[in-house]
């Protein structure tokens, strides 16, 4: 038996600047191998001892057996510190934590619509890459992604150079307001969503700020989607990650073990406190 709260040491091998306040960090363990196996949607606790520890979605796919990636937004003490780290620097890592998107069960063989806003594309990217690496197992893929401005789109190069060219795949990008460097769609995710008008023969994976989720969810229902077709992730403050410290509950559910992935109909039975 081991104490699941004790981490491994991880090494940052590469860093990619995604947006002015988001960087993607490639991490391996001290032996140079991937620190542990995981499924799309699962998370890990990263820490700089003496600074803090926090939960981050694993943004890379399980099919990547060499390393893990984390896309981290600078918002506070720990994330500020992590943003100052350089390749070769060390941090600690423990996980994997939480449940995952049902990629090998419910989602398998289905058409999938991915909807994301801002940094929340991180957990979705893990699913998208998993789907592309097992392309024959899934149907049509639609990806609708938005950010405040062009610089706010994470993985922009990857989306435009790789995802958009995959077979049977449509990518829709949007930014909130007019910008000189942008000739694509302008408007909020829900507005663009309405314009495109997706058919209901698909499952939906949706992650983003609560306001985006709220409006898009209403549209989905209006268009005839059922809550049972829509998966999302929730974010609450976490400490232990293993269902013991009692911090991340919504009613009887602990988001660190019972989540972060929820089918949206499950949320109806929970207190409105997230």
């Amino acid at each position: 038996m081991r104490d699941f709260q004790i981490p491994k040491v991880g090494i940052i091998t590469e860093i990619f600047e995604e947006t002015p306040d988001v960087k993607t960090f490639r991490v391996v363990d001290e032996s140079g191998a991937k620190a542990f196996d995981h499924m799309p949607g699962q998370c890990a606790m990263l820490s700089v001892p003496g600074v803090g520890e926090a939960m981050f979605s694993i943004a890379s796919s399980p099919t990547n057996t060499k390393f893990m990636e984390f896309s981290i937004k600078r918002v506070g003490v720990l994330t500020e510190h992590i943003h100052k780290l350089e390749p070769g620097d060390k941090l600690t890592i423990r996980g994997p934590y939480g449940n995952f998107f049902p990629v090998d069960t419910e989602l398998k063989g289905k058409n999938i619509l991915f909807v994301a806003g801002g940094i929340a594309l991180a957990p979705v990217r893990s699913v998208i890459k998993y789907v592309f690496d097992n392309r024959a197992d899934y149907g049509y893929v639609d990806i609708l992604y938005g950010a405040r401005n062009p610089e706010g789109l994470v993985y922009r190069k990857e989306i435009e150079k790789s995802w958009a060219d995959k077979p049977n795949t449509n990518v829709f990008l949007t930014i909130d307001q007019h910008d000189e460097d942008w000739d694509g769609h302008i408007g909020f995710v829900p507005d663009y969503f309405k314009k495109i008008g997706f058919s209901t023969d698909k499952l939906v994976v949706m992650c983003g700020p609560p306001i985006m989720i709220k409006f898009t969810m209403a549209l989905l229902l209006e268009m005839g989607f059922k809550k049972e077709q829509v998966y999302t992730t929730l974010e609450l403050r976490m400490k232990c990650g293993i269902g013991k410290c009692g911090r991340c509950n919504i009613g009887p559910k602990l988001v660190c073990v019972d989540g972060p992935v929820f089918r949206t109909d499950e949320l109806d039975n929970l207190p409105d406190e997230f």
Binding site: T79, R237, P252
Partner: protein
């Protein structure tokens, strides 16, 4: 039924001394007005006649603060050294029925699920718990409302104080082994000898003001109704958010994880009790889902009366009454049960 034994109360110190020769022994110790579990030694005053201890014995399993590991930082290198906790058998003597049940509640949290709490498990396995029936239940006690029987307190060994004797009865194999080990200090007793004191205790408890509470509404099906109940808007108002009710509650087990710099280049990461009554408990960079004291207050009582029952089919309150005694503004779970229970 396992055999009943007894020892005259005058000889208890001899029994304690003998136990303490084998392993650490914790018992309710009297210090002025306070009664708390502490390590038995030659100069302590054990008081088995007091009611519940001021603090709970939960820190024997979940210490108020405990090291998880240290991280040595040298020249950019990080080395993780798991904390070397010592896990040796120990006895805790004189635990009341409410605190015994509270241990079962915490067991559900710390020992069940995909992850088992390492240190908690080892401490539980190393513990032998000797319970004690409550001869003098107090006005704030309401264990009976949760169907606990303070006259049959459970544990590995149950004990009763009666007519200058302490009666002992093993409740499981572990307890039996222990009684065998110290049998030379004990006398055999007749089964009927504790019946009068048991009857007396049950009678006293039935007469207490909170022994019957309107708990019928507190069912998993009613969770959302309870959560959205308008009475929360009034109930929480006096709450200071001091957190006392959580620290002295035997079933509150929430903890924080923090760092301190133990010495230059060495970071100690530890966990320590925390409280859902505090605003920063759920504070995140993008906001707080429990925005005012109302949500925090509601969380504590919903956890005991609805969330824990939904998960484990038992209440998360054991009716120890400590929050009734200790809340500086006389808020407590009894008021909540009565208010939401429709009284």
């Amino acid at each position: 039924m396992k055999g009943l034994y007894k020892i005259s109360t005058g000889e208890l110190d001899g029994l304690f001394a003998e136990i303490a020769r084998e392993m650490r022994l914790y018992a309710p110790l009297r210090q002025g007005n306070e009664l708390n579990f502490g390590l038995w030694g030659a100069s302590v005053t054990v008081d088995l006649h007091g009611l519940k201890t001021d603090n709970t014995p939960k820190d024997l399993f979940l210490p108020q603060s405990e090291d998880l590991y240290s991280a040595s930082l040298k020249g950019g290198d990080i080395k993780i050294n798991p904390a070397e906790a010592e896990f040796a058998p120990f006895v805790v003597f004189g635990v009341k029925a409410c605190d015994i049940k509270a241990t079962a509640v915490l067991d559900n949290i710390f020992l069940k699920g995909d992850f088992v709490d390492h240190n908690y498990k080892l401490r539980r396995e190393n513990a032998l718990i000797v319970s004690l029936a409550c001869n003098k239940p107090g006005m704030s006690c309401f264990c009976a409302a949760f169907n606990l029987d303070a006259a049959a307190p459970g544990g590995d060994i149950a004990t009763w104080l009666c007519n200058e004797y302490l009666y002992l009865q093993a409740q499981n194999e572990k307890g039996e082994g222990f009684i065998k080990q110290f049998a030379h200090l004990l006398q055999e007793a007749e089964e009927g000898e504790i019946a009068p004191i048991q009857a007396e205790i049950r009678e006293k408890i039935a007469a207490l003001p909170y022994s019957e509470l309107p708990l019928e509404n507190f069912t998993p099906e009613n969770m959302l109704k309870l959560f959205n109940h308008e009475n929360w808007n009034i109930l929480y108002k006096a709450c200071l958010g001091c957190g006392i009710c959580t620290y002295i509650c035997p079933t509150c087990g929430c903890y924080d994880i923090r760092d301190f710099e133990a010495k230059c280049g060495e970071i100690q990461r530890f966990r320590c009790w925390d409280s859902c009554m505090y605003p920063d408990f759920t504070l995140m960079a993008h906001g707080n889902p429990r925005i005012s004291q109302k949500e925090r207050f509601r969380q504590r009582f919903m956890h005991k009366l609805a969330y824990h029952p939904e998960k484990f089919a038992e209440y998360g309150c054991v009716g120890c009454g400590r929050c009734v005694n200790k809340c500086p503004v006389s808020l407590n779970i009894v008021k909540i049960i009565k208010s939401l229970g429709g009284e």
